[in-house]
Symmetry: C2
Subunit: 121 residues, 2 copies
DNA sequence: CCATGAACACGCTGTTCATCG
DNA sequence: CGATGAACAGCGTGTTCATGG
C-alpha cells in the first residue's frame, strides 16, 4: 500500500502526486482530462512544473483500476460535437484513504526539504 | 547548467540532492565515503530516506568530473591498514555556485509541496 | 485542431557483482 | 569484512505516434 505511494526512496513520485491532485479536482467536478491538465499547468507555472498529458491519463487510468474513480463519455456542451470524458469518485472511502496516505508522504518530503535548507545555509 | 540540476520536471533528482549535501559535508571535513553515508542515513532516518552507497559514489565522481572536489588516498588512522579516500573542495567558487543554484531548486520544490498541502486539505 | 490513448525510448536509481587491502 | 567501484536491470516518465470526432 504505502509501497505504492512511495517506492522506498527519496521523494514522492510524480504519478502519486498527480493522482492525489486529480482526486481533489474530481471531487470538485473540474471538467475533463485536458481541462484539468490546463488548470494544473497554470497553477504550477510559478513552480516551473508542467505535467504532460500522458502522465495525466496514466494517472486517471490507475485511479480507475484501483476502483477509486469512474467515467462516462459525454458530448462537450454548447460548443461542438467533441466527445469528452467526465470523471467521478465511485469510492469515497478509498479516495479519502489515498489522500490520507499522501498527506503523510507529503509531510515527510516537506520535512526532508526543510532539513536540507536548514542544514546547508 | 540548471538543466543539470533540474531535469525539466517535477521534483529535484536525488543525485543533485546528494551532491549538494556532500559539498557541505566535505567543507566540514566529514571523513570518507562510507562514513558520510552512515551520517546521512542517521540524519535522514526520521524521514525514512536511506541513500545507497552506489548513489553516493556516483555523486562524488560527478563532483570530481565537474572540478568541484578532489581526493587523495590515505590509510585509515589508528585502527588498521584500511585505505580510504579523503575529499576536499578544490574550487570553492564552483561549489558556492552549485549550492546557490540548489537553493533556488530546493525553494521551488518546497513551495510546490506547500501548495499541495494547502490545496488539498 | 481537440481529446484520449498506446508504443517507444531514455535516464535515474537500486541490486548485484567485482576488486583490493 | 570494510571501502570503493563497475555492470546490470527495472521502472518512472517524456517524446512520439495513433485514432476518432
Amino acid at each position: 500500500m504505502n509501497a505504492e505511494i512511495r517506492g522506498r526512496g527519496f521523494l514522492l513520485k510524480q504519478r502519486s502526486f498527480l493522482k492525489f491532485y486529480l482526486i481533489t479536482k474530481i471531487e470538485q467536478q473540474k471538467g475533463y482530462g485536458l481541462q484539468m491538465l490546463d488548470d494544473l499547468e497554470n497553477e504550477f507555472k510559478p513552480f516551473a512544473y508542467s505535467p504532460t498529458h500522458t502522465e495525466l491519463y496514466k494517472s486517471l487510468h490507475e485511479l480507475k483500476d484501483e476502483g477509486i474513480i469512474d467515467w462516462h463519455r459525454q458530448l462537450k456542451p454548447e460548443t461542438d460535437l467533441q466527445e469528452i470524458k467526465i470523471y467521478r469518485i465511485v469510492d469515497q472511502e478509498k479516495a479519502n484513504l489515498y489522500k490520507k496516505q499522501m498527506k503523510v508522504e507529503l509531510d515527510r518530503c516537506y520535512g526532508l526539504l526543510r532539513k536540507a535548507l536548514q542544514d546547508n545555509y
